[in-house]
């Protein structure tokens, strides 16, 4: 049977993949995708936790609402992020993170 | 309302007036003059028979932690307040006309004055500390703008060194505060001292060491002295006068008020260390002073060296030596102010203070030479000047301690070192005097337009010297005041 740790491991793997993408990719759009992936991974673990902790006979809906919020917030965040990227691309003609180096030290 | 409050707030009022467009020099002169007269009056009005703390006033600041703004003065504070008034007044008198932002200069001087007045009249360690540190920035600004020589490096060194040092003091004060049991915690040093006497608190000796290092640095105790010479030699004359003359005494004041009465055991335990350091201050710095080739550096180092003698007075820790130390603080404050004032006047005229480039100025500047001579003699401790009386008392006091301690060897060595310091100071001060003022005129063609001291330089310095002489001939005037603190 599937234990909680299966789900958590799957979520963890997805989270790690997202993290790896954020750290290793240099295209900001793809970084945003990876971020989105990380948030989804979190959703998975929350849902898993809620499913495995039965309250009054049903799963913890508080957690599911949290997931709902996360999805919403993530969407908003991505929207704003993409808007910034559009503006950035318009002014710098790039979405490459290494080109963002006018301020350092 | 305590009259001491006026001493602190008058300068601030003056600053506001100057900012609003009042003539800077006149306003500052009036303010400091008024402060001087007020402190003189307070000294006169102080009830010697009653002794203790007078002119008390208490304002609660943070009642929960026992932090109050308490003003009050005893003889020692009054003496130092008098010194503050006198030196700040003369410092403003001798301030030359300057091209860059004169208003700022006077404001800075006034801030230092107010800080000093506050430091010497606060009974709360917090404000004691705070008021003294006010001077940090004005000094920084003044050295940077109006200093001479390698002024930027000097300003940085002084500010950072003293900044670090005052933090150590702050830590010491906090440690002291926390060492009292919770319900008795207070920043009032009278309470702190009482607690130690009742042995309610358990002051550890490391607090004493913190305070010693902190206050010691301010007094340029070896090996924490290296900020002092460069600062004093680079600072404009009025700044150097106030800093070396008065501000430096704050460290000693702090030690007398905090470290010594609260940690009698630790003082005894570490007297060996302090004695060794003060011997270094006298002998080592003495010889460093001898090696100096410039007037300003010589005077600056000399002020470091003289602190050793005062420290001896503190270590000996009896009524004689403490009174002597207080007297010497007063005398040294005035004499070093005289020397720096003249040093500044000379620098303005000759643009160099190197011995090799000077000589025979007495023929061109008889007044300056006369006053400098007096200053020199005061500084080397000629009888008739306050410094002599102070030194004598310290020596007797230290000897008295030797009697009590059944001949502590290191103390004896320290006394001998301090006595030898008198010789050393004669060596370098007389050489300085001789190199600058006597002998044939060096490069006579350079000094064709040189002018002797004007009245505004001559009069204030003379005032300082007259006070030095009066209190030197009648030291009991000061001692009566000071003794109220050491009874």
């Amino acid at each position: 049977m599937i234990t909680l740790s299966h789900y958590l491991m799957a979520s963890g793997l997805l989270f790690s993949l997202g993290l790896a993408g954020v750290m290793l990719r240099r295209n900001i759009i793809i970084i945003l995708m990876c971020l989105e992936m990380m948030l989804s991974a979190v959703n998975l673990s929350i849902v898993a936790f809620s499913r495995y902790s039965i309250v009054h006979g049903h799963q913890n809906y508080d957690a599911q609402v949290l997931v709902f919020f996360i999805i919403t917030v993530a969407a908003a965040e991505i929207a704003v992020g993409l808007a910034i990227i559009v503006a950035l691309f318009r002014s710098r003609q790039t979405t490459h993170s290494e080109d963002l180096n006018s301020m350092k030290f | 309302m305590s009259p001491l409050l006026f001493l602190i707030f008058l300068p601030f009022v003056a600053i506001i007036l100057i900012l609003c467009g009042a003539p800077a020099r006149l306003t500052s002169l009036l303010t400091t003059g008024l402060n001087f007269l007020l402190s003189l009056f307070l000294c006169y009005h102080y009830n010697l028979v009653l002794g203790g703390w007078q002119y008390l006033q208490e304002t609660k600041i943070v009642p929960k932690i026992g932090l109050n703004f308490t003003l009050g003065a005893d003889g020692l504070s009054l003496t130092l307040l008098l010194l503050t008034g006198l030196v700040s007044f003369t410092a403003i008198c001798v301030t030359p006309k300057m091209e860059r932002s004169p208003n700022l200069f006077y404001c800075c001087l006034l801030i230092i004055t107010a800080g000093l007045a506050g430091a010497f009249s606060s009974l709360d360690t917090f404000f004691l500390y705070g008021f003294h540190e006010i001077a940090l920035i004005p000094v920084f600004i003044m050295i940077g703008i109006w200093g001479s020589g390698d002024r930027q490096a000097a300003a940085w060194k002084a500010t950072l060194y003293l900044g670090a040092d005052s933090l150590i003091v702050l830590l010491g004060i906090i440690a002291l505060y926390l060492s009292a049991p919770t319900s008795f915690r207070s920043f009032d040093f009278r309470v702190m001292a009482e607690l130690s006497q009742n042995e309610i608190s358990h002051p550890a000796s490391w607090i004493y060491l913190l305070l010693l290092a902190g206050f010691g640095t301010l007094v340029s105790l070896f090996p924490f002295h290296s900020w002092a010479p460069s600062t004093y030699s680079s600072a404009p004359a009025p700044t150097a006068m106030l800093h070396a003359g008065v501000l430096k005494k704050f460290g000693l004041y702090g030690l007398i008020r905090l470290a010594l009465p609260i940690f009698p055991v630790a003082v005894g335990k570490f007297s060996m260390l302090l004695l060794i350091l003060l011997i270094c201050n006298i002998i080592y710095i003495g010889y460093v002073t001898i090696a100096q080739r410039r007037l300003d550096w010589t005077i600056a180092y000399s002020s470091v060296m003289h602190m050793g003698t005062i420290f001896l007075g503190l270590v000996a820790f009896n009524m004689l030596s403490l009174s002597g130390a207080a007297l010497l603080m007063f005398g040294h404050g005035l004499s070093i102010a005289v020397l720096f004032a003249l040093c500044g006047a000379l620098r303005a005229r000759t643009e160099t203070l190197t011995y090799d480039e000077l000589g025979g100025l007495a023929q061109l500047l008889p007044k300056a030479s006369l006053l400098f001579g007096f200053g020199t003699m005061a500084s080397v401790g000629l009888p008739g000047f306050t410094n002599f009386a102070g030194e004598i008392l310290i020596f007797f006091g230290a000897t008295a301690t030797v009697i009590i301690n059944q001949g502590s060897k290191i103390l004896i060595i320290a006394i001998i070192a301090a006595l030898w310091g008198v010789v050393i100071s004669a060596i370098y001060m007389l050489r300085a005097y001789r190199s600058v003022f006597f002998g044939p005129i060096f490069q006579a063609e350079r000094w064709t337009n040189i002018k002797d001291l004007s009245l505004k330089e001559f009069a204030p310095v003379t005032l300082l010297l007259v006070v030095l002489l009066i209190t030197g001939i009648f030291p009991q005037l000061i001692l009566n005041l000071v003794n109220t603190a050491f009874r």
């Binding site: 949290l66 965040e77 | 929960k64 700022l104 600004i141």
Partner: protein, 479 residues
């Protein structure tokens, strides 16, 4: 009254202004700002009304204790100051955004902080991870937009992007942490965290720590503790100056409130408390060292203030690490208030100087004293206060923090802090040095200030000095 009305009023104010902006685009933007400030001031006054306890529905999320009330006021004041600063910043905004006509898009610059203010007010009341997450994100989104507001300025966009990526990344960590805490304890409430943890078996400690670590990372990111401070200097430098100030003050304060609420619970569990205590101490040490030492060689004023902001995080972390002392929370509150006054003063002067000398490097401050004595004096007061010299608000702040740290026996931390303060004196005085020692360059002309700015600057100087002498009101309101 119901405290929720406070935020509601602010939100309504923001929406109303948005409407006005949308329907009357020709309206003078300054009026908009003044209405916004007026409204916020009104809400500020409302906070002194007696508050009813919050309704049952929102009770698990929302608290209105002293700390919350205090920081609500704090946030409102910060926002008002930001708006005041923005008034002087209008020319820069106009240059910075591509508009069809002058003044397009300026109005929103005044309105967005109001929404941020509302979310911050929720945030400081949050005692549930859910409210925490939502309101934190709300504020963050506003900041994303505001930081990249000057679209013609590549630096602003670059800063926005960096903040976006890094902040979103930490959001990921935050909710991952929240999910772990929820998974282990079964609760999303911060206020009842300790109660739930006590019931747990010992074996749950590791996952709990895993979650705690992740949440701490996110909070440390907000307060910019080392090694989570990397975004900060770049973002500070690139963001519009009023937003930098807002970011530096409000966002940091909010981070600390959350940290306090979270750690207060953890400290109740002895085993956990010790670990967290050690971590906070360590963080304080490295943050102090990094912030202060790295600032020493800095030549750009905005970056200098950024590093200084990191440094101040270090100081406040000292107090967080000493949370056991009675005065710790008031000390943090006071420090933040002091930080509010001095940082906003510094940023205001910086903004004016940047505008008139065309740069935010420290050398642009040269001879400021001769160009405008008031500005120089204001900057000096700000620097003195930031450096923590008496009698300035910053001094009392440091004093209280040193005291609580001493009380808790953090001697190593104090030693590091001492070194830091000295380094701080150095780099703050670098500015003072430039203003006073140096002569202004030939091209620099005297600066004339508007009346409002003069009053604002004088008021801030007065606040810094008064708090430097009489800090009690602030302390009292946090006890």
């Amino acid at each position: 009254m119901n405290p929720l009305f406070l935020e509601l009023t602010v939100v309504l104010l923001g929406i109303a202004l948005l409407m006005v902006e949308a329907f009357f685009p020709k309206l003078c933007k300054k009026r908009l700002a003044f209405v916004g400030m007026g409204g916020l001031f009104f809400v500020l006054l409302l906070t002194w009304l007696p508050m009813s306890s919050v309704s049952i529905e929102s009770a698990p999320f929302y608290t209105i204790d002293n700390v919350a009330l205090f920081f609500k006021r704090f946030m409102i004041v910060t926002t008002i100051l930001t708006l005041l600063m923005s008034l002087d910043y209008i020319p820069v905004i106009e240059r910075g955004i591509p508009g069809e006509r002058l003044g397009a898009g300026v109005g929103e610059f005044f309105i967005l902080p109001i929404f941020a203010c509302a979310s911050l007010m929720w945030l400081v009341s949050a005692v549930s991870f859910i409210l925490l997450f939502v309101s934190l994100e709300c504020m963050t989104v506003v900041l994303y937009i505001s930081i990249s507001y000057l679209r013609k300025d590549p630096k602003s966009l670059e800063a926005g992007t960096k903040y976006l990526i890094l902040s979103a990344l930490t959001t990921g960590f935050l909710i991952y942490g929240i999910s772990w805490i929820f998974g282990v304890t079964g609760t999303t409430s911060i206020a009842h965290l300790a109660e739930s943890i006590v019931l747990l078996p010992a074996s749950s400690m590791t996952p709990l720590l895993f979650g705690t670590g992740l949440i701490l990372v996110a909070l440390c990111f907000k307060i910019a503790a080392f090694p989570f401070q990397f975004w900060l200097p770049d973002v500070y430098q690139g963001a519009p100056t009023p937003i930098t100030a807002f970011l530096s003050i409000a966002s940091k304060a909010a981070g600390f409130v959350l940290l306090l609420r979270f750690l207060e619970q953890l400290y109740l569990i002895p085993t956990l408390g010790k670990k967290v205590f050690a971590i906070t101490t360590l963080l304080a040490i490295v943050t102090l060292l990094f912030g202060n030492l790295a600032a020493m060689a800095q030549t750009n004023m905005k970056r200098l203030l950024a590093y200084s902001s990191i440094a101040h995080t270090g100081y406040i972390l000292m107090a967080v690490a000493s949370i056991g002392a009675a005065l710790a929370v008031p000390a943090i509150g006071f420090y933040l208030v002091a930080y509010l006054a001095m940082t906003s003063l510094a940023f205001i002067v910086l903004m004016i100087v940047t505008e008139t000398s065309g740069g935010d490097e420290i050398y642009c401050f040269q001879g400021l004293h001769e160009r405008s004595p008031l500005l120089a004096a204001a900057m000096t007061v700000a620097m003195i206060s930031l450096a923590g010299l008496p009698f300035s608000a910053g001094f009392f702040g440091k004093f209280f923090i040193f005291q609580v740290a001493f009380q808790q026996g953090h001697y190593g931390l104090l030693a590091v802090a001492t070194l830091s303060v000295v380094a701080g004196i150095y780099y703050y005085l670098k500015v003072v040095k430039a203003m006073y020692w140096k002569q202004p360059s030939e091209t620099c002309t005297p600066i004339t200030l508007s009346k409002l700015t003069t009053v604002l600057i004088s008021a801030l100087i007065a606040v810094i000095i008064i708090l430097g002498i009489y800090p009690t009101p602030i302390l009292m309101s946090l006890q």
